[in-house]
């Protein structure tokens, strides 16, 4: 098997990696906001429940969480697992796990907005929802860009954990090719892909950070 065909196989897996990455971000960010709000809720039971959930999501291996999500329908409900479920299980597992991390970052960002901002908004008659979306949220976004960038870069690499439920993303493919060829070169090729992907991610996040430079 020539170099080009190795690269081709890895590119096939790369598509899956990008797919997991993109949809995980898409779902985990809004879910993270919900987590943050629940975690800050003055309704004690919800607050406590969220605290426990976040603690478990951050305190156990992502790989294990993926396996639990994947096998849950079978063990809990007796439903036969299908191939397409693999995709959903991966997205659910990744999204919920990352939402826990994003949620804690968002919470810190929300709490860092000075109380005077809430008071000014309250005196002007903004509703709670308006105050959150118009006043707090944009200021939170600016504060969380650097820590979110870290998580996003970690996510690029974490997508390889999908192998735990035999979801063939790039790293799984590279390992298979490497095993078949008794050659670790495919793994290096995959490494280059991850690295270039992350350079692009860091560049985009840098742009985002810059675009928020207009206020302090």
């Amino acid at each position: 098997m020539g170099f080009m065909s190795i690269v081709q196989q890895i590119i096939g897996g790369f598509g899956t990696t990008v797919f997991i990455f993109f949809f995980t971000l898409l779902f985990s960010m809004p879910l993270g906001i919900l987590f943050a709000l629940a975690r800050m809720s003055r309704f004690k039971p919800l607050n406590l429940l969220m605290q426990v959930c976040i603690s478990i999501l951050r305190g156990t291996p992502l790989m294990l969480q993926l396996i639990v999500v994947f096998f849950m329908p079978y063990y809990v409900f007796g439903i036969k697992l299908t191939t397409s479920w693999r995709v959903y299980a991966a997205l659910i597992g990744f999204s919920v796990n990352y939402a826990a991390y994003f949620g804690e970052i968002f919470r810190a960002g929300i709490q860092a907005v000075p109380v005077g901002q809430h008071e000014a908004a309250e005196v002007l008659g903004f509703t709670k929802a308006q105050t959150f979306w118009k006043i707090v949220f944009p200021q939170m976004v600016k504060r969380v860009v650097p820590p979110v960038t870290n998580e996003v870069i970690t996510l690029v690499k974490d997508t390889s954990m999908a192998f735990a439920i035999a979801y063939a993303e790039m790293f799984t493919m590279a390992k298979q090719v490497a095993a078949a060829q008794s050659n670790i070169m495919p793994l290096f090729v995959a490494g280059v892909f991850y690295y270039v992907f992350n350079i692009v991610v860091a560049w985009i996040m840098g742009k985002v950070e810059k675009s928020l430079d207009y206020f302090q």
Partner: protein, 272 residues
Amino acid sequence: MQQENMMQENTNNSAKCLFSICNVKKSFHDLTVLHDISVEVDEGEVVAIIGPSGSGKSTLLRCATMLETMDSGTLTYLGEEAARNDSSGKAVYASPADLRRIKGYFGLVFQNFNLFPHFSVLRNLTEAPIHVQKREKGEVEAEARELLRKMGLEGKENSYPQQLSGGQQQRVAIARALAMNPKMLFFDEPTSALDPELTGEILKVIRQLAEEKMTMVIVTHEMAFARDVADRVIFMDGGYIVEEGRPEDVISNPREERTKQFLSRFSDQGMQ
């Protein structure tokens, strides 16, 4: 005694009472910050509140603007009750819808401005009129530009707060409050966060508002300013109103020992 005198004055007065907070009590845990005090303000009146730090001036303003809830007391704007005592003497507030309407009657200017840093100057002024009062955008923007011009902030519409000096930021904050077309304004030490050379421009703006008969309650440490601009001065100490009256009496000729003591600290400002 003083309370009675004040009530008397008000009933004799033909001017319309715009704002009143009566018998407000407020404690934080064990600390009683406001001991059953009352303030009424007539339309067009300028009231200065002076007193040492920790005397409860901010808490009084925050109760008046509903940033704090009173433990007990009544709060009225234009005859509309925002809060009153129930049978057990505990303050109960009006419905959220009523409170939202009543909040439209007043504006508050903070010591540290609290401008929205992510909004341009113009948007700081227009956001609430458009999205809270649901007024028409074009009209609101035209009015906001006019307000900025009046505040000497022409050409700053598209700047962001951080690009402005403290004095300019506070003028934007005053304009933001005025953009809501309030019936009255509260100021909590509007110049205390500013360098001395910048306080003048804020005092000038407030003076101008006073000339236009804007109803205002101003917490301030600027004694000369309070004496010149206020119709009435309230001296607070330890959560009580110790002395209240015309500025020439309270500031230049105080009756109470505590007022004299407090004012003696300012004598080097060329008060007497």
